[in-house]
């Protein structure tokens, strides 16, 4: 790290981040303790499901950071430059999530119906034993995390190196890795969510599922990063660097991802609903009956309709305060979405919200944020030697 880097976080900003880090850590530890209590008090299946909700959401956020980072290397654009370092910090939490996957791997036989003893009598399970078996499941999880860590490691390392050396070739290398990296991300994540979430109902399948969850992850990541970016925006060095135009662009991207999520969700709904095939429709029957339809309605209204209308407004996108509120709001509603993906597979009869469903995302989220803030203050907030930085900073300054 170069001492005279103008974009090194100011002591005030680092202090802020430290404070946030310890707050998050406390929340995380309290949440984790609650989960430990929950593990002993409640049925293990419930514990695992709630844990899965938290794990999926925060893994998704970390992975979304990685994906967005690679996308911004590919597409360029001022928005990417402003959040690149935050995305990097977000991606560096992947090893933490790798640790947190262990309970899932340990609890496969409690969580996944295909791994229950005697599940073989289900034809669907029997026929896909080649894929859905515990050793392969564990191996895949390790492989996925390995690949992701590798991507994360290389991208972060080169970016830091660029700060130091300003070698133009590093920019090329970053771009060259990002292209295939996105492809790798899309494929591995598709299979990962097939393993971790879709196989909760081993008879059900949907080809758009992977894409849908990837988009959701990018949205979670973007909302998280935007919220954090604005948190730091009033302290040097970011103060004065972030223009309304940057925020506007980020808001537009959030709008685009919100619409994309709605588009893919709608596509899946209308096709399965109109096809009405028994092996597919069970998914929506579970989710549109017994109280779950309210969760679905909430997602329609508040994961799409409400943020869509808010983000249409230019004024709200350009105002840091309102944009941060919208970003925080999107994080919350994203958790509801993950909850809706996971839980109705089990509580088929009626809607049920266990207190662990709140404790797990909050607990894991606390740990995640704490680690994220720690990572965030390790590096300058802007990549000083990135080729387009000057242009990105000037973005929107002619007004």
């Amino acid at each position: 790290m170069i001492a005279d880097n103008p974009y090194t976080l100011s002591p005030a900003a680092v202090n802020d981040l430290r404070k946030h880090q310890s707050t998050a850590l406390i929340v995380g530890i309290v949440g984790m303790l609650a989960m430990v209590v929950g593990f002993f008090l409640t049925e293990h299946g419930q514990f695992m499901r709630s844990y899965l909700v938290g794990f999926m959401f925060w893994t998704g956020t970390a992975m979304g950071c990685l994906a967005l980072m690679m996308i911004q290397y590919m597409s360029g654009g001022a928005w990417g430059m402003m959040i690149r370092r935050s995305l990097e910090a977000g991606s560096r939490t992947i090893p933490l999530m790798m640790l947190l996957v262990i309970p899932i791997l340990a609890g496969v036989t409690v969580l996944y119906p295909w791994a229950f003893p005697g599940a073989d009598h289900l034809k669907a399970v029997h026929d896909k034993r080649l894929y859905l078996n515990v050793p392969f499941f564990v191996a895949r999880a390790i492989l996925f995390f390995g690949v992701w860590c590798l991507l994360m490691f290389l991208l972060n390392r080169w970016s830091l190196e660029q700060d130091r050396t300003g070698d133009i070739n590093l920019a090329r290398k970053l771009e060259k890795l990002s292209g295939p990296g996105i492809v790798i991300y899309a494929f591995t994540m598709t299979f990962a969510v097939t393993d971790w979430v879709m196989s909760l109902d081993p008879t059900w399948f949907s080809t758009v599922y992977g894409l849908l969850l990837c988009v959701g992850q990018c949205l979670s990541a973007l909302a998280t990063i935007v919220a954090v970016l604005i948190l730091m925006a009033d302290k040097p060095p970011l103060a004065g660097l972030i223009t309304k135009r940057h925020l506007h662009d980020l808001g537009k991207l959030m709008l685009a991802l919100t619409m994309l999520w709605a588009y893919l969700s709608f596509s899946q709904l209308i096709l399965i609903w109109s096809g009405n095939l028994p092996e597919e429709i069970s998914y929506y029957i579970n989710r549109l009956n017994g109280g779950w339809e309210w969760v679905g309605g909430i997602l329609l209204a508040f994961h799409f309709g409400f943020p869509f209308l808010l983000l249409l407004s230019q004024a709200l996108k350009k105002n840091p305060k309102t944009l941060r509120i919208i970003a925080c709001y999107i994080i919350v509603i994203r958790i509801v979405d993950v909850f809706w993906l996971v839980e109705p597979n089990f509580n088929k009869a009626h809607f049920q919200l266990h207190w662990l469903d709140l404790a797990a995302p909050i607990g894991i989220g606390g740990l995640w944020f704490s680690y994220f803030f720690y990572q965030l203050r390790q590096r300058p907030i802007l990549p000083v030697n990135a080729p387009d930085l000057e242009k990105a900073l000037n973005h929107g300054r002619h007004h």
Binding site: G77, K123, A124, D127, K128, Y131, I168, A171, G179, P180, V183, A186, F187, T190, T194, F205, S206, T207, V208, Y209, G210, L211, K252, M259, Y263, L264, S267, Q268, I270, L271, I272, S274, G275, L277, E279, P387, D388, K391, H398, H399
Partner: protein, 471 residues
């Protein structure tokens, strides 16, 4: 758009080149593009190309006449493959029609100024491709003269179209798309028509372009509303583009035919449409750029960016194939599994593998920058992608239908000479329209290009408009 107070910063990739050549200024840009329309003599190259394309149009008209006299029995369609070339070509053309509005709309929203040089051309292509696409469902109806029955109007049957059928959504989506594309295109044309009007040398040209220009005078008040309207249109057109091919994918996916009914279809069809659309833009743009000496306006940067878009969308399409293949096994559904196995090994397997080669393997070369910037190779790749995307629709339509649920209902599809005549005829119609467009309207949006001119000023000394050389 702001005035470019300083020259546009050259991007990092200097070897690829800037958006617009540094030798251009306001005067030369206007003269060059207006000159192609107003002062260029009709060359033999144009006449020959147009003549060939016009022959294709005539063939189309003849084939359509015979079709309307005899009915769709002259085609190769029959049970079980009741959707043959008509639907394959419809989807193919509609897909090609996606690049234009996408380039215009999304890139305008994203402030990607490199769109400016190609959007007019791409939009015109959209319109013509949609026109060709629209013919096919109408022909496929059999009684084309009753096509207006598709529209909801109070009729003597006192019924409405089936609004819950994706085939009816198609009517809405395609007609809305055609309307909005036309409006978008025309709105973009108004200031350029004014330029042509003011440069015209003959009275009839002044009147014709004067009417087209609607009295546009470049008032700042007008420009302000114009910019707003363009932005709004772009904002509306972007989801519209996505919706059109989404609806086309619903035509298939709402049914429960294995190979059609799969949830990835909407995004995968949209990506495929953009893929083939950009391939078609490149296929046409590379020769046009050469013949009309537009190298300084359609720069290597445009070409490179379009190639990148092709690569991206090609990868999404490849992702779609992979998901279909994997989930046909993962579903453990007999019919799904058979469908994909049959695609890979059945009677149409050669088409399938051809398609994989054209759509998945060939574009991988676009990872290499040298391929992206080599015009000849890129042109060949874009043609291969066009063929591949046609094959994709062929495989989706034919292989899913030719093996019905009961082996007793299995069959094969053999297109007849009339199928081919109509397909090739629409290519002729498309090219005819493109040729006419190139003669009558500036291929490149002049007023948007002016924004990119370094300094935004006129020539230091008055430039005498020179008649452009013939080809």
């Amino acid at each position: 758009m702001a005035i470019p107070l300083q020259p546009i910063e050259l991007p990092d990739e200097v070897p690829v080149g800037p958006i617009i050549g540094p030798e251009e200024n306001l005067t030369t840009v206007t003269d060059k593009l207006a000159g192609i329309v107003l002062r260029r003599k009709t060359g033999y190259g144009w006449l020959m190309g147009f003549g060939l394309a016009f022959c294709g149009t005539m063939m189309l008209l003849m084939a359509m006449t015979y079709l309307f006299l005899k009915g769709t029995g002259i085609w190769g369609i029959n049970m079980p493959v009741a959707w043959g070339f008509a639907i394959v070509n419809f989807v193919w053309w509609i897909g090609i029609g996606h690049a234009g509005t996408l380039i215009s709309a999304i890139l305008l929203l994203l402030n990607q100024s490199w769109r400016n040089a190609i959007n007019r051309y791409a939009e015109a292509m959209t319109l013509f491709a949609v026109a060709c696409a629209g013919l096919f469902p109408i022909m496929h109806m059999g009684r084309a003269w009753l096509a207006y029955w598709l529209l909801p109007y109070p009729n003597t049957m006192q019924l409405w179209p089936q609004f819950r059928s994706p085939l009816d959504w198609d009517v809405f989506a395609v007609s809305t798309y055609a309307t909005i594309s036309l409006v978008f295109w025309y709105v973009g044309l108004i200031p350029d028509a004014a330029s042509l009007r003011d440069q015209a040398e003959h009275r009839w040209q002044q009147v014709v372009y004067g009417i087209m220009a609607l009295g546009w005078r470049g008032s700042a008040r007008h420009w302000q509303r114009y910019e707003k309207a363009s932005l709004l249109l772009a904002g509306l057109a972007t989801p519209l583009v996505l919706s059109v091919h989404t609806v086309v994918s619903f035509d298939f996916a709402v049914a429960i035919i294995p190979g059609w009914h799969t949830t990835i279809f909407p995004p995968y069809f949209v990506a495929g449409a953009v893929y083939s659309g950009f391939a078609m833009v490149l296929t046409l743009m590379i020769p046009v750029r050469k013949f009309y000496h537009l190298e300084s306006l359609v720069t290597m940067r445009h070409i490179n960016n379009m190639a990148k878009v092709m690569l991206t969308t090609g990868l999404i399409v490849g992702y779609g194939y992979m998901m279909e293949a994997f989930f046909s096994w993962y579903s453990t559904n007999t019919y799904e599994g058979f469908m994909y196995w049959n695609r890979m090994t059945g009677p149409y397997a050669p088409y399938f593998w051809c398609l994989i080669f054209c759509n998945i393997i060939t574009p991988q070369f676009l990872w290499i920058k040298r391929v992206r910037t080599n015009l000849i190779i890129l042109w060949i790749v874009s043609i291969i992608v066009n063929i591949g995307m046609w094959l994709e629709r062929f495989v989706i339509v034919i292989t899913s239908l030719h093996r019905d649920f009961l082996p007793s209902s299995w069959g094969m599809y053999y297109p007849t000479a009339w199928d081919w005549a109509i397909y090739i005829g629409t290519l002729g119609l498309f090219m005819t329209l493109i040729y006419l467009f190139m003669r009558a309207i500036p291929m490149i949006t002049i007023h948007e290009l002016r924004v990119l001119v370094p300094g935004g000023v006129r020539s230091p000394q008055p430039v005498q408009p020179q008649p452009v050389k013939n080809i």
